[in-house]
């Protein structure tokens, strides 16, 4: 496709891009060139500077230094409207859609001058058929699945005939099958001459899809390569500077007692656009890790609220903790029964941003670690406990008096996990344990969970990352549309099967499920 003597200039060429924020150099002299029709990966860990670079290209952020060339011509992109008029489209990781409007209304809002909704609907149907993105323009966005919402975002860009499409971590919300479909669409778009910048930290996806890759680490370019020629470990070395750590995961001991039992848990969502939980059955035993896979928005928030006690239930029986019917207990009372909980939002839920690490240690450990006596906080014990969490979980910080918000995402997550694990919970519920965490910290956290399991705790992990679940879980279940599939042994299933279950199709799901019930535990 690209001849060596190709005279056409790159569609987009960046040189020496630099952006400094008060506390950090986000981009430090970045060079990047994307040719017409090329799918170009931008690979890097969280905090490597990928997002800042994309915001510069899309005109959201102005660079402090450096040059941008578009079709060989030097330009300045002052705002997103200027980027769109050049033909740059962007699909954000977090969607920007109005839930109470229809698909066509959302699309019309993004197009500057579009009044005729009927004509626009026809165009949407045309384009969506052409690219294999089935979508009904009259549906309300809140009734769409996450994958369908992403299609709206992509369609919105495609209708503007983009010449460069930026996709920011697009697969984090998709099932494995949907990822394959998305890749087909992206290949078709590229074949028609549109360039694609594909941002990700998932090595296998980049190897499967991209023609070229620019690797970033700590704001600098650390590699330019053809990912199809590289191995996963050589890419990882460029990305993190060392080999990918692996997690030791010996076989679970069988026959521990059931410590967390969900017996027909049904719960209406507090959120009008949330997902109601429907008749969920699950038991988690001592000495095992059970994973719950599924695309977020399928009831994860509601399930976590019901498990943690942040949203107490009307009845006690559906949630049983260590033999106690705990449905009506609040979060504090469940914790005193022996429950530990790591939520996915670190700042504002798992930790108070403006408080110090010592104060944040008090948040959940006050009872189990005896940090309060006679109504007064015991500062010495508190500091000792916080220091313990910082040291044992290698949290990089200025000490127990560092404010939580001053820590990087990975370090704060290690601190929160440390705080919960050091209390020796008998049941631990963890949501997205490594979300937005760098590779090193992620491996550390997974290993810590496995060790807690080896020590006999019952652990429930809810995660969107299938790789992660397969790495640490003994059994895996799938949450789809508020229903939970049976939990199967991780060794007896596959990513493909779990991926299919993620669309709600498991044996006995009651809606024309395929056969094959061989290994339901």
């Amino acid at each position: 496709m690209h001849v060596a003597a190709d005279p056409a200039p790159p569609r987009l060429a960046l040189s020496g891009i630099r952006k400094i924020y008060p506390a950090v150099v986000a981009n430090d002299g970045i060079d990047l060139a994307v040719r017409p029709g090329e799918i170009h990966a931008v690979l890097g860990e969280n905090g490597a500077g990928k997002s800042t670079l994309m915001k510069i290209i899309y005109g959201v952020v102005k660079p402090d230094a450096g040059e941008i060339r578009w079709d060989g011509r030097q330009i300045e992109i002052a705002h997103p409207r200027a980027a769109r008029s050049l033909g740059i489209g962007m699909v954000f990781q977090h969607f920007s859609l109005f839930e109470t409007l229809t698909v066509v209304e959302n699309v019309a809002l993004a197009l500057d001058r579009e009044r005729d909704l009927a004509a626009l609907s026809r165009r949407i149907e045309e384009v969506s058929a052409r690219y294999g993105l089935p979508l009904d323009p009259r549906r309300l966005v809140h009734s769409l699945s996450v994958g369908e919402r992403q299609r709206v975002e992509i369609l919105r860009c495609l209708l503007q005939q983009p010449r460069l499409l930026i996709m920011d971590e697009p697969t984090s919300v998709l099932t494995p099958q949907a990822v394959q479909k998305l890749f087909d669409t992206l290949r078709q778009i590229a074949a028609e001459g549109c360039s694609i910048l594909y941002i990700s930290h998932k090595l296998d996806e980049i190897q499967a899809l991209c023609h070229a890759a620019t690797v970033l680490r700590a704001g600098k370019v650390t590699g330019n390569c053809d990912p199809r020629q590289e191995s996963a470990s050589s890419l990882a070395r460029m990305m993190i500077g060392k080999d990918l750590p692996v997690c030791e995961h010996p076989q679970a001991k069988q026959g521990g007692e059931a410590r967390l039992v969900l017996a027909g848990l049904s719960q209406r969502s507090e959120d009008p656009f949330g997902t109601d939980l429907r008749d969920i059955h699950l038991s988690v035993h001592a000495g095992e890790i059970v994973g719950i896979a599924g695309v977020s928005g399928n009831g994860q928030q509601e399930l976590l609220g019901a498990l943690s006690g942040e949203v107490p239930l009307a009845n006690a029986a559906p949630v049983q903790l260590l033999g106690v019917e705990a449905g009506r207990l609040d979060a504090g009372l469940r914790r005193s029964l022996g429950l530990g909980f790591v939520p996915e939002e670190r700042l504002g839920r798992g930790a108070v941003p403006e408080m110090t690490l010592a104060e944040n240690a008090l948040l959940t450990a006050h009872r189990s670690m005896g940090l309060v006596r006679g109504g007064l906080v015991r500062p010495e014990r508190l500091r000792a406990f916080a220091r313990d969490a910082i040291e044992k979980f290698t949290v990089k910080s200025s000490g127990t008096e560092a404010e939580a918000k001053s820590l990087s995402g990975g370090n704060l997550q290690k601190f929160i996990v440390g705080r919960e694990l050091l209390q020796s919970p008998r049941v631990l519920v963890v949501s997205q344990p490594t979300w937005g965490v760098d590779v090193g910290a992620a491996a550390f956290i997974r290993q810590a969970l496995v060790e807690l399991r080896n020590a006999g705790a019952a652990i429930l992990v809810i995660s969107e990352e299938l790789d992660e679940l397969f790495e640490i879980c003994d059994r895996i279940a799938v949450l789809a549309k508020g229903r939970l599939s049976p939990a199967v042994r991780a060794r007896n299933t596959s990513v493909a099967e779990i991926g299919m279950w993620m669309s709600g199709l498991w044996p006995g799901a009651g809606n024309g499920a395929p056969e094959g019930t061989s290994h339901v535990a």
Partner: protein, 356 residues
């Protein structure tokens, strides 16, 4: 040209305590400007405002006397404010405290025991809490805005007091003035310094400030309320009750304001009159913020605010400045404080209109 506020990376700890000092300095500078504009000698105005009031023992006693209700109320309010419970109605709670405490004094005229005063303080605290319980109940039950409810109840309280001193509790030998009988000695705070008006109410205020400090700085309950104020989801995650925060926050402010109300009627006033407070309940809001919602800071801020009251009176007498000058200075102090707070957390950038 556009102005834009950009967040600063991380304001240092020292910077957090700087705004009150900067605000005090700016208030003085602006005071110079005001007196110049009114054609007065600014140095004389400064002297009259800030030095003369405290140049005698009596002046210092007056300073502490007026600072007492301010530090008391501000400490109580700060406990709620830290948990995002916005009690704006301390003035009304103060009045109810005065009615409850004063009512006890009027109905037990023959009692000659020091326990009477203690009972009055207790009754005053109860009265203030009762008045604060109304917005607390409405907020925790029906999610009503406690700012509006507590503020509006100030005017109800004021009319209630007005009714009581004009009708049922009016002194029959009072020449028809709307005021109650003078309280018996047993119902008055003892004087601390001879030939001044400074009374034991100051010690009560100091004790409440000390308890307040213990509560916010050392107690687990104070910690829970701070978590509720800073991050509601974290409080829910930890299992801290949001309703309890609302109740404690409102009742603490109400109790403190009620005790302050008893301090006025059992102190310098000595009876119930239609007007028992020159807006202490509102000025205490400013004191709480100037003191950074910390009882130690509140102690010093209450001295400053008290000086503004005394200085305002002196400026009226010495320089014939209008009586609004006290309110003007209070307003400037709060304005400069909030302004410097913004500038500590953000910096202002001038932007030229986006060039294409």
């Amino acid at each position: 040209m556009w102005l834009r506020l950009e967040a600063r990376a991380a304001p240092s700890r020292a910077m957090r305590y700087l705004p009150p000092l900067v605000a005090a300095a700016l208030t003085i500078v602006a005071g110079f400007a005001v007196s110049l504009a009114l054609g007065r000698d600014p140095l004389a105005a400064f002297y009259a405002f800030f030095v003369q009031p405290v140049s005698s023992l009596n002046g210092v006693a007056e300073l502490l006397l007026k600072a007492s209700p301010l530090m008391l109320i501000a400490t109580g309010l700060a406990i709620g404010y830290r948990a995002n419970v916005w009690n704006i109605g301390a003035e009304g709670q103060l009045i109810l405290g005065a009615i409850f405490g004063g009512g006890l004094a009027l109905h037990l005229p023959g009692v000659d025991s020091r326990w009477l005063l203690a009972a009055m303080v207790l009754a005053g605290a109860l009265g203030g809490m009762l008045w604060a319980a109304i917005p607390a109940l409405l907020r925790s039950r029906f999610n009503t805005n406690e700012i509006l409810v507590s503020l509006m109840l100030v005017y109800v309280a004021s009319l209630l007091l007005s009714y009581l001193v004009q009708e049922p509790w009016r002194d029959p030998q009072g020449f028809n003035f709307p005021q109650s009988k003078m309280f018996a000695d047993a119902a008055l705070y003892p004087i601390l310094l001879d030939s001044t008006r400074l009374n034991a109410g100051f010690l009560v205020a100091l004790a409440v400030v000390a308890c307040g400090w213990l509560f916010v700085a050392k107690s687990f309950l104070g910690y829970q309320m701070r978590v509720a104020g800073l991050a509601g989801a974290a409080a829910r995650y930890a299992g801290f009750s949001a309703r309890r925060s609302v109740w404690i926050g409102m009742l603490a402010g109400g109790a403190a304001a009620g005790i302050a109300g008893v301090g006025e009627v059992a102190g310098p006033i000595g009876q119930l009159t239609p007007s028992i407070s020159p807006g202490y309940g509102f000025a205490a809001i400013i004191v709480a913020f100037v003191g950074r919602l910390n009882p130690v800071g509140i102690f010093f801020a209450s001295l400053l605010m008290s000086l503004l009251y005394l200085g305002g009176e002196a400026a009226q007498m010495e320089l014939r400045l209008p009586s609004a000058i006290t309110g003007l200075f209070q307003g400037m102090l709060l304005f400069f404080l909030l302004g410097s707070d913004v500038l500590i957390h953000y910096r202002v950038r001038l932007l030229r209109r986006a060039a294409a």
